[in-house]
Amino acid sequence: MTVLFGQLFTGISIGAVLLLIALGLALTFGQMNVINMAHGEFIMAGAYTTYVLQQSITGAGLSLAVALPVAFVVAGTMGVLLEVLLIRRLYARPLDTLLVTWGVSLMLQQLARDVFGSPNVQTRAPELLTGNVALPGGLTIANNRLFILALALAAVAALTLALRLTPLGRRIRAVVQNRDLAAVSGIATARVDRTTFFVGSGLAGLAGVALTLLGPIGPTMGTNLIIDAFLVVVVGGIGQLKGSVIVAFALGVLQATGEYLTTLSVAKVIVFVAIVAFLQWRPQGLFTLRTRSLA
């Protein structure tokens, strides 16, 4: 029973990680239709930001707290640069965007290798986040997993509120639903695109900070995550945040259950088979955005 509950929590926390890495992509890919293969490298940038900050800020807790906003800005700025310099010139050419951003991803990886060296680097996690909460029945819940879950939920909540309530959010939704109509209504679509890209990439940076608590920090860490992130967004449905949220947790629990009953490799196969089957049934994803746009 305790194992079962432990597994359920593991599944939810895998889901939280998936959600956190996919959230930024849900914005740039889901809302703007830009296939950004360099999204994983923005995650990497967030992780390295934590590492760099820790060289000067000694307290592990403080440096993590500082890293969250700084990584958001660092990755967001990288995203804006990418958008202004390359992606803006390639809108409506998805295949070219895919190749160009993949090239950018390789360049950023090599840059990380040149600056930080190819071996992984280490960061110190605050002691609080390396412990766990003991529940009755010998069950424990890891603090770093709780932290990531909280961070993911907070990010979703903030993003949802921003999209619903703020003027910027309204403009973003207007551009997603009908770009031309938004433009003729006086919305500066280019500026909205840039802002959306800043936020989406910034969220990747946030994910990078969180991942330093769980996994390796190295030049190739982004490539391992990018596929999972795309899976979540594609299955969740383009243009909707709630699809990504539900799918992230569903895939997390499926993965954890499959892995518990079989092995990690087989669980991955189960997840992929489930995704393929699901997309046969609903190629448009879990939720779709219904608009009157002709595009």
């Binding site: 992984n120 680097v121 766990n132 890891a142 769980l214 390796p216 993965q255």
Partner: protein, 414 residues
């Protein structure tokens, strides 16, 4: 329409890649040398040796350090007058973490550069890829990394540990500490699976229970479930044969699940000083590793090796077991050649038995029959400073036994 065109472009690209791969495979089947073998070119006042390591790709992290220590050994030998009066001229090739490339570059070093010996390879996959090339050309490879055993090529000298010099002593140590049950965690490829087969046979014969066995694909970084399984098994210890990035995720998860080195120690066979740096001592402090050499190993030979390495490559660079084994390989080859009085491969092989070298890890002796070397087995504990300190050693060099013939419990293996 545009999507359709995109797919056609993709299909075209795939075809190109496939064609390129087939060409690459084809080129390694050239049959130069034939049955007589290629003789090394030693006519000048230098002798060429080949250095075959991955300088790019996923294995570069590890293999570059091996290349560096081979170069250090070559420089030392040249400074002392060379081999048989000839200076060593190293010829470097990049295996690019790609096994067919290793085979191709090995062929090039042997047939075109006509080197007297090749030093390199890291993964068992790359060794298995070049093995037929060396055997066909009757050329020599010095392989520096601990491996899964059950191999004995006449044209390879294995200067890293075989299973009875690393894994078996690791199990002996756990047994002596009172461990009655173990949980096995490893990456999903040949080395961990073979190693775990051996561990299970050992456990069955020594009254140990294997409570579980889990494999993660290489590069996997999600260990929530595996650590849950390990924890609920209540094993006395964990035997870890994970490789690469997976170790980072595994140990972070291990610590946050509340598991400790005191409560359930993990014995790892693929974590050396360099890897400790990348995982973080916060997560590794107190955990155990099984190797034959640590940077902290006492002795004049090691102080000299560590000082020379740091002087050449930087004070922050640690030395590790595979680097040491590669360094030893070059010096052993020199000793073999000098005993044989020639660079000829068959004469070098014949002269190899009983060659000794005062290595950083202590005295090592070449066993001419298996072409492995007798090494002292060591268990170390990872400290807060990232260095590994020895907690146990075998007292004397352990004779290599790649097929575990001297262990009755291993009779059913291979």
């Amino acid at each position: 329409m545009s999507l359709f065109r995109g797919r056609r472009i993709l299909a075209g690209a795939m075809t190109l890649v496939a064609a390129a791969a087939m060409t690459a495979c084809g080129s390694k089947t050239t049959d130069e040398g034939g049955a007589t073998g290629v003789t090394a070119d030693v006519s000048g006042d230098t002798v060429k040796v080949g250095l075959l390591n991955s300088l790019s790709g996923t294995m570069a992290i590890s293999e570059v350090t091996v290349r560096d220590s081979i170069m250090l050994a070559v420089e030392e030998i040249n400074a002392a007058g060379g081999v048989l009066g000839k200076k060593i001229q190293p010829v470097g090739e990049d295996g690019a973490s790609d096994w067919p490339t290793f085979a191709e570059k090995a062929e090039k070093l042997i047939s075109e550069d006509r080197v007297a010996a090749v030093f390199g390879c890291w993964t068992s996959a790359s060794r298995k890829a070049v093995k037929p090339v060396f055997e066909k050309n009757k050329a020599l490879l010095f392989y520096p990394v601990q491996y899964e055993g059950l191999e004995q090529s006449p044209y390879i000298f294995y200067t890293g540990a075989t299973t009875n010099q690393q894994i078996v002593p690791g199990l002996d140590y756990l047994k002596s500490q009172g461990a009655k049950s173990v949980y096995l965690v490893g990456s999903d490829y040949v080395f961990p699976r073979t190693a775990n087969k051996i561990i299970k046979a050992y456990a069955a014969a020594n009254g140990m229970t294997v409570l579980g066995e889990d494999y993660a694909p290489l590069g996997s970084t999600e260990f929530g479930t595996i650590v849950n399984k390990v924890k609920s098994s209540g094993a006395d210890a964990v035997f870890n044969t994970l490789n690469g990035d997976s170790n980072v995720a595994f140990f972070k998860e291990y610590k946050s699940a509340g598991l400790t080195a005191a409560g359930m120690p993990v014995v790892s066979v693929s974590i050396a000083e360099e890897e400790v740096k990348g995982i973080g001592t916060q997560y590794l402090e107190g955990q155990l590793t099984a190797w034959n050499y640590y940077q902290t190993t006492p002795g004049a030979a090691n102080s000299k090796f560590v000082a020379a390495y740091k002087a050449k490559y930087g004070a922050d660079k640690p030395t590790s077991d595979p680097m040491e084994a590669a360094y030893v390989g070059v010096h052993l080859w020199k000793a073999m050649v000098e005993k044989a009085g020639a660079f000829d491969v068959e004469k070098v092989r014949a002269a190899s038995d009983g060659i000794t070298f005062d290595a950083p890890e202590g005295l090592v002796t070449v066993d001419g029959k298996t072409q492995h070397i007798a090494k002292t087995a060591r268990i170390g504990k990872i400290g807060a400073d990232g260095l590994i300190t020895e907690v146990w050693n075998s007292g004397k060099p352990v004779a290599p036994d790649p097929y575990l013939k001297t262990y009755p419990w291993a009779s059913g293996l291979s």
